[in-house]
Amino acid sequence: MRTLGLFAGIALTHLRHRRRQTLVSVLGVAIGVGFSIAMAALMQGFQQFFIDRIINAAPHVVMYDDYRDPPAQPVSRVYGDATVEISGLKPLRERRGIKDARAAIAALETRPGIAVAPVLSGPLILSYGAKDLSISVIGIDPEREVRVTTLANDMVEGSLALLRTNPNGIVVGSGLMKKLGLRMGQQVTAASPTGSPISMKVVGRFETGLAAVDQGTAYVLLKKAQILQDQPDAINQIRVRLADVALASDTAKSIERQFGYRTESWEETNSNVLSIFVVQNSIMFSTVGAILLVAAFGIYNIISTVVYEKARDIAILKSMGFREGDVRLIFVLEGALVGLIGALAGWALGYLLTKLLGIIPLPGQGGMIRRPTSGFILYESFTHYLVSGGFAMVAAVAAGFIPARKAARLDPVEIIRGGV
């Protein structure tokens, strides 16, 4: 331990006597670490917020009334890949919706940690004054719906209780209300492509933060949706919320296996967004990795210079009885010291940058996602500090190791013979 202090002292002395080079190397590491922390907070903040909104606002698993692979047609079953011409064929008019939906709901409710709600969703034209808007209407059972989504919490005006007591009531998103110029209690005409127009009363307004949902969705009672869509007793979605969201993917697969209907977890539904996050993260880590790599080259450069300049000192130390490992350790410690000081400075820089990003006012609230703050949405985690600091230390030690190995192998006799 005492000798380690001696080696660290020698390493520190070398660095102290090359202040400018050391400072540049430390700054390189600090910038890499600092930006890594700030970018991770920024990226993860946005991604976490987005995912939280999806997880909270939407059900974790949805069973639809269609199949992942279309069922094989009778002709294909009989003739296989043969070419068959059939004329005068009329497609079978199948009753839409999930068959035996109530039995399926009852079966699902026996599973532990699951809440289930039936839904009939479909297209709807909402007319108010001179404006017509095509939206998606969701017929819900309010009592069950609140168990699978955060609709009750997202209500900013009116309530789901009013929907329950108003058979012709409709709950619309904030964006939609604004687009139509609607107010609470006003009547609006709703018409589906298959049903007759019905006059409905606005009994509530919700806001999820997801612009696409708030501008294009309305909720009515399930019965009313069935009338609007001309699909009596039909249910085309069974929405599921899980006590443990991590089980969503497995649960979706298991439900699909049990009932045959296409069942998607929230990850599958939002796979396009999640894949963008993967790309975003790859870009972020590549950029930060490149910064730290440049910093590592800086460390390699300074330690190589020190080894070159200190060849005579290395010979002295070895003649004095310092082992090859001791010399190697001294120069590796130099790399580690630059890495450590750089990482600590980078932590401070990262903290300040993150705070700065949090208070910078950003224009544009009308984007894809409504932010809860005026600045960037940030996710601060000690893990970001540990990962970036750890990566910087590994890079610094690796950068120091190559010249350190060279230093350890120097032949003292050759250097001493060379004189000054």
Binding site: L6, H14, R16, K318, M320, G321, I416, G419
Partner: protein
Amino acid sequence: MAASERPAVEAIGVTRIIEGAVSTTLVQDINLDIPKGQFAVITGPSGSGKSSLLYILGLLDRPTKGSVRLDGRETAGLDAEALADLRLTQLGFVFQFHFLLPEFSALENVALPLRRLGRDSDTTILARAQSLLEEFGLGGMSHKRPDQLSGGERQRVALARALVNKPLVVLADEPTGNLDSRNSELVFDLFSRLAKAGQTIVAVTHDMELAKRADRRIRMVDGRVVADEH
């Protein structure tokens, strides 16, 4: 053989050849033993192999043939780490150019081998280093860096560093080669004084006048010992 009778250092049939396009023989078939407490000098013209022999005796270089014994212990089969440990505990070096670490003070330079040994507390180490500097008339210079000292002072600091671990043998390679006559006298006075106190010293020098002050003069020519005067 009793421990006190064993030579401090012995060279047994030592030959050192540097292999290359043209092989160079640095020293050839040297048989030599330096008893404990002896002040021996190796003299000879440039290129006679004096320094090469000194580096082999000091375990900085390995002989191509033959072996070196330190206090009766065979060193031929030892690995680099064991040799480094022997240099740390049994040997002390002084070179022509002082070879002090420039960023460290005189006191820190002297303390380095003891700190590497790591056996004593820092207070004990610094006290020992300070007492050696005082012994060599450098008590007031302990906090000066090498560039703030004269050539003679630096060489005395280097000698103090060589002695700080109480080595069996001090090996000096042209220790006065870079000093004026007054400082050269001073360094050789120190060597004589140390030898009288029982310290084994092997020094390489060109200076025949100074060599006369040693207990023994070994003359080398073309890598061989040609004279050995006691």
